[in-house]
């Protein structure tokens, strides 16, 4: 069932997804979308890892994917807590409201 596809196609897809996520991070002001874009980027990174693992038929790519998964879970747990606090404190989800910690 697994297929042999050119690795550069998979990597190009990973790069495309990653950069779409990056555009999202740079453009969106809503913190929810920011986090979604981050998820997209992490997902793209794990795709690259899995592709690399599949290139050598090694489990390491999947293992890195699982660590990214754990990272994403941890990140989301904390980040969503912050989002809720942000929404309560500023009554808005604009991430630029939270720029008090400059300099």
């Amino acid at each position: 069932m697994p297929v042999a596809v050119p690795i550069e196609h998979v990597l190009a897809l990973a790069g495309l997804l990653f950069l779409l996520g990056l555009i999202g991070v740079l453009v969106r002001r809503n913190v929810m979308f920011l986090l979604m874009s981050l998820e997209v980027m992490m997902n793209a990174a794990s795709l690259a890892f899995v592709a690399a693992g599949a290139r050598w038929a090694a489990p390491d790519g999947q293992i890195m994917f699982m660590f990214i998964l754990a990272l994403a879970a941890a990140e989301v747990a904390v980040a969503l807590g912050i989002v809720v606090q942000l929404a309560r404190r500023f009554e808005s989800l604009d991430v630029d409201n939270a720029d008090e910690m400059y300099g």
Binding site: I7, L13, F33, Q62, A70, R88, L93
Partner: protein, 192 residues
């Protein structure tokens, strides 16, 4: 046939992701994100990583994005937020990041294009992953456990009510925590 499925899934993933980034309605964007994740799961499966594919669905789509949706529903981002989102997204804003991303993508693809390498087309099942995970990567597993514990504690702390109450008290939240102010409150509660 399977190769075709790969390219279809790739197309779906790319388009769905594009909609995630550009959509103004948070819940719709999330469903697109789920679609994107499912497409990536299909790609994982086709690359010979069934365990990763399953985890992608179970954990990513089934738990992490559900949390997103949960928060979106809790904050009730309805029509007003869609309007506000439209106001925040001026078309001109897309130009700079898009150019930047294009430069990155081009240089990125330029680096590895034409390597002629193919994925192995072999299945690496859960057993192999498990053995590697609890063999050479055991330290990383422990560290991931610590990370999750830290996230648990952090999320618990952030979710507590008092952070919100401090906001309401006055504009200088750090003074609120001083014990001499906390004491009368406690006694008032005791009287009540």
């Amino acid at each position: 046939m399977e190769t075709a499925i790969f390219y279809i899934a790739a197309l779906v993933a790319a388009l769905a992701t594009l909609r995630v980034v550009t959509h103004v309605n948070a819940s719709h964007a999330l469903i697109y994100l789920v679609v994107s994740l499912l497409a990536v799961a299909v790609i994982f499966f086709l690359l010979g990583a069934p365990f990763a594919a399953a985890l992608e669905v179970v954990v990513y789509a089934g738990a992490i994005v559900v949390l997103f949706l949960f928060v979106v529903m809790m904050l009730n981002l309805g029509r007003t937020s869609v309007e506000r989102e439209r106001g925040w997204l001026r078309p001109g804003m897309w130009i700079g990041p898009a150019v930047l991303a294009a430069v990155l993508l081009v240089s990125f693809v330029f680096v590895f294009w034409g390597t002629d390498a193919k994925t192995s087309g072999e299945m690496v099942g859960p057993r192999a992953v498990g053995i590697a995970l609890f063999g050479p990567y055991i330290i990383a597993v422990e560290l991931a456990g610590f990370l999750l514990l830290a996230a648990l504690v952090g999320a618990w702390h952030l979710g507590r009510r008092y952070l919100e109450e401090r906001r309401g008290a006055d504009d200088f939240p750090e003074e609120d925590a001083s014990p001499d102010e906390a004491a009368p409150e406690a006694s008032a509660e005791g009287n009540a």
